[in-house]
Structures are given as C-alpha cells and as structure tokens.
Symmetry: C2
Subunit: 360 residues, 2 copies
C-alpha cells in the first residue's frame, strides 16, 4: 500500500543509521518518489534556517547566510526495483544494514539530512539537493530537469554527490561513446557459399582489433583514469541457409575526461580504418576539478588520496554547469543494485562526522 506524506514523520536528529533505515523503508523505486519527497520536504521545512523548494519530486533546501562560498550536497531519492526475494524492509546482520537503497543511496541521503539539521550556521552556504529519477533513462533525471528549468537552484562553487564510494573521494568521470562498425559482404545460398562473401567471417578483423587493443590509463589532474574499449553487441546473418551480407558490431569506448568526444571519435575511426563506422551515442566525461582550492581542501580534510570515478555519473552534470564535483559517500559501489545490497553502518557515521567537521 503506498504511503502518503501524512504517514511519515522523519526525525532528522536521530542516529543517522536509524534515519537511513527509516528512509529505506519508504519504498521509492524510480517513478514512486512522491512519498519520500513529501517526507523530506516536510522535515526540512521545519528547519527555519533553510529555504525549501519543491521541483517535481525533487526537493532543494538552501541556507542564505551570505557566505563567500557555496557547497552543493546532492543525492537521489530513488532506488532500482526490489530484488526478486524482496529486500525491504531493511534488516541488520552484525554491523551491516541490508536492503534495497541502503548502499545506493539512502545512507548518503541520511547524511545530507542529518547535516542539514545539525549545522544551522555552516562555514559555507549549503545547498541540499534531493532528486528523483536517477536510476532510469537520462530524460527522467531530476537533477537534469532542475538544471534545465531552474539552474539557479544548483548554483555553487563545489559539489559533493553522496553516491557510495566506500568513504573515499572519487573525482570526475570517464566519457562514453558508442559506434556501430558494420562489415559488408555478399549474400548467397549457403549451399553455394563460394558465390558470396561472408560478412561474419570478415568481422574477425573487428574483433581481432578489439581483442588486441590495449586500453590506456590516462592521468588527469593527478588521477589515473582507466579507459576501456569493448564490443557490447554483435549481430549478423538473416537465416540458417544464407551467407550473411552484413555483420554489425556495437562498440563502447569509455575515455578519459582529458579527451573530448571528438578526440574519442577520431581515435575509434583511426582504429577501425577501412571499415564502416557510425557514431550512435556520446557523452563527454568530467575532469576531476581537484585542483580547485575548495576541492583540494576537502580532499586534504578527508585525509585519503582521491581516486577516479569510472562510470558516467551526475558529477558530469555539475561539470557541465561549471561546478567542480566529487563523489563521496557511504557504501561499496559494487553493492549498488546488488540483490544483497548493504551498507556498513560505520561508514554512514564516518561520512557524517567528516562533513560536519568540514562545514560546521
């Protein structure tokens, strides 16, 4: 039964682990963020030092203290669907909190909310963004929607996305690009194969170049971004008795943020010289921005060297807005979306402690 806003009272002053549980137990699979957005909006509205704006099923809360700098702390409210063996409500196993959303990313959202409640007079102005639609196609992403319709709500000098990073700082992200490489042949009946030319056999050239390719590791602003180049789909042939006249290999290139989309496309066109290459999809990466003074100060405070983020994340949206951004949050990113999703409860407390020390 869906819950309504009136059912849920979030106590932001409670232990952040209990707050994580309370947030997880409001089921909020993408498309059903209404109840949790209502609860978050209601709880933040009780804090007089915040200006709260509702935008669809996203909520933005800002201090307006006239500080020189503004930090944006962002997290998404939605989760991927429950596991086949439903993993809600949450449960403990020792010091691990299990269940959908514990890792990705209600632990981070709890840290945002606890921080908002605990620090009425932060050292920098703060913007808390809680958004919908992160786990689905890009067009439904709440952060993207706000950046198009109300970009002033996202203004800031530095952003922290509280996505799971096991408490490390991950900066920037690789770009991603897809091409279709098509090999052409000549159709014939397979009983007279010598009258045709087999496009699938000829596709071995494409696979051979991919298998022999040595992906680069590219240092960008002190972080080493590991690239990759992979066939993700292959399709050829029309029937069991026809020599195929066409084989299409879809290739995904994840490239370091020091390269533009044009650089990356040029690189693939060189690699597949002589073949029919069509660009189908591309998104640039994001430079880590860790040479910015506030980012540097943040990393120094954490006391652990920053690492690169490999996947394309919403960090790139902030990058497009000219705001350096990092990922920093509780939970092992490899447990995001997993059937046995969990978060070590200590990481939630550690994350809150570090951010409070930085911003109080």
């Amino acid at each position: 039964m869906p819950m309504s806003a009136s059912d849920i009272q979030l106590d932001l002053s409670q232990d952040p682990v209990d707050l994580t549980r309370a947030l997880c137990d409001i089921e909020s699979v993408s498309g059903n963020e209404g109840p949790i957005a209502d609860a978050v909006e209601a709880a933040l509205s009780r804090l007089p030092w915040l200006t709260v704006t509702r935008h669809g099923d996203s909520v933005v809360a800002r201090t307006e203290l006239g500080r020189d700098e503004r930090v944006v702390l962002a997290g998404h409210l939605d989760t991927v669907p429950l596991a086949a063996e439903p993993n809600l409500p949450t449960w403990y196993e020792g010091d691990l909190l299990y269940g959908r959303g514990t890792c990705d990313m209600k632990g981070g959202v709890a840290v945002q909310l606890a921080l908002a409640a605990a620090v009425p007079e932060p050292s920098r102005d703060l913007t808390f963004v809680f958004y919908d639609g992160e786990e689905v196609e890009s067009a439904r992403n709440g952060l993207g929607r706000i950046s198009r319709e109300a970009p002033h709500l996202l203004a800031g000098d530095f952003a922290v996305l509280l996505e799971p990073t096991s408490g490390l700082v991950e900066g920037g992200c690789n770009g991603t690009l897809r091409v279709d490489v098509t090999v052409h042949g000549k159709a014939a009946h397979s009983a007279r194969a010598w009258m045709g030319r087999n496009a699938i056999h000829d596709a071995q050239v494409v696979l051979g170049r991919l298998a022999a390719y040595e992906p680069q590791e590219v240092e960008v602003e002190g972080l080493v971004f590991r690239e990759s180049l992979n066939a993700v789909l292959i399709n050829g042939g029309v029937a069991g008795n026809v020599i195929p006249d066409r084989c299409v290999v879809s290739v995904n290139y994840r490239f370091a943020p020091s390269k533009s989309v044009q650089d990356a496309e040029h690189h693939l066109r060189e690699l597949f010289t002589g073949l029919d290459v069509v660009l189908t999809d591309a998104a640039g990466g994001a430079r880590p921005g860790l040479d910015q003074p506030m980012a540097k100060a943040f990393v120094d405070l954490i006391g652990v060297p920053a690492g690169p983020k490999y996947g394309w994340t919403d960090v790139a949206r902030f990058s497009e807005l000219g705001i350096p951004a990092v990922n920093f949050g509780p939970g092992d990113p490899l447990k995001a979306h997993a059937d046995d999703e969990f978060v070590p409860v200590q990481e939630i407390r550690d994350c809150l402690r570090v951010l409070t020390a930085w911003l109080a």
Copy 2:
C-alpha cells in the same frame, strides 16, 4: 481472383513452351496449389493409359504396363512468391520466357505432362509425380508427405527430378548440418570492463577458425562435391553498457554425401575443440547413384558428363527410399527465385526431346 478447376483446360499436346506459359499463368505460390493441381489432375485423367491418384494437392499418374523397370519423373507445382514488381503473367524477350515459375519449375512440369501425353507405350513403366509445398518448410513438402503416407506411389528403379539444371545431369547432393558454437564470458558494467570477460571478443577464435578453414572437394562416384563451412548467424550482448557474457555463432556445414551426419558432426567438434558446440539441425546428403546401370544409361544418352548438385534437394528423399535419382531439367538454377526469373525456351524443347528418345 483465384481460378477454379473448371476455368482451366490444359492442352497437353500443344508445344511444350506454350504449355509452360499456360502452367505459369496459373499462379501457384506455395499454399495455393489447388487450382493447378486440379488442372493437372483433369488433363491426366483424360489419358486412358494412366492411373491417376490425387494426394492432397499432389497428383501421381502411373502406367501399369508390367515393364521390368520403372522410372519416376517428379516435379513440384508450387513457386516462391511473385517479385515486388509482379512477374506474372509471363512474357517473352526473344527466345527467353520470363516470369515466376518459368525456371523453377514449370518448364520441367510441362516436359513431364507433354511426355505423359506423347508416350502411351513407354519402354519402362513411368510414374509422374506433381507435388505441392516444395518451396516452404520441409514439413509441408508433398513428396515427403506421399513418402510417409503412400510410399508405394513412389516405388521405382530410378528417378529424375525435373528441377532446373540447364539441361545437365546433376547427381546426388551435399548433406547439411548446423551447430551453435557458444562462447561464454563474464558480465560486468562496461565502465568497469576489466571486471568482466568479453564473450564477443573471445568469439574471434571461432571466426578465425572459420575464416582459415579450407573447404574440401570430395569425389564421390566420379563427381566432385564442393563442401563449405560458414557462420550464418551471430548474436551476442544484452545492452550498450554491459560486457557481454555470451556470444553464439551458428555454423552451417555442407558436406559431401560420402560422409554421414555423424562424420560431419565429429569433424565440427574437432574443429571447435574446447568450445561449447550444440548440434541444432542435420540432414544427410545423397550419393549420386550414377553407377547404377539405368542412371549410367541415362547419362550416356544425354551425352554430357554429369555434375554434382550442391544444394540439398528432394533427390535426397528418393535416396532415402533407396531410389537413385538425378536432377535434369530446363533453366539455369541461378535464376530460380530471382526477380528476373526466365527459361530459355530451347532448353524446354531439348529436355522433352531427350526424355522422349530415352523412354519412347
């Protein structure tokens, strides 16, 4: 508008080229053989020296003269669909008769019918088989249906299928076998490709072995059968951001009739040693049988050396019944099914002349 039997009167004594035109102009795409079967049945029933049996939309007509030997002359009544630019009714261009069915195989059917009408007292007993459903899946093949339900109708010492061979004798046919070769990998997000194993990249081993394979030419009873081995389908991957954990290559082997299906399967399992190979489809070939005295006499009469048939044809059905069979008919086999299908009219007359000389 579909024609009914009462509309069509076939004159079997007319010039066989005119008879070919009349047969073609009864549209008989597979599934719609009723009207042409009615017309053929009616025309043959007017010949008192023949015993006519209707079997579905197939017609069998037999002499019962008590000769020592019996020759079966067989042809199918159906055609593939018309070309996009409809190629019926037929038309002439010089000495070529154009239109659907002219080559495959109303020219051959006209020869059968003209022979039936012209030779009331043949030197061997004759069985004329006109069957439906040759151009579609094997389960609908009229010759197969008769061989299962009324095999006595097909009894004989030698069979001639009047499929187009440009007036040459083609003996036997290759077997055909299909296997799926599956390459297994390990799925991962393509942003962290190094955590998976790419099954499409690994499929280069399969394509490499196929591209390097040198098909054999195998002499069987004096005819050289050219084999072939081809990937006909390839499929791998699930999404644009996932390292594929599976790639399936479907391989078609056309093998000489001196090999059994078991031999052929063994050969492929050796070639793909170490890979996951599953047999999906197989049909044995047919030896040419040209060492049989009547087949030999027939080839000597034609005066042109016999050649091998590459495609799997209904010759193999006769072979399974223990009846040596050859293909011999008017028309270039490469024009079968073509949009510009045609038959050189002289080949129809030559074919009838040769068979009349042999059987009169």
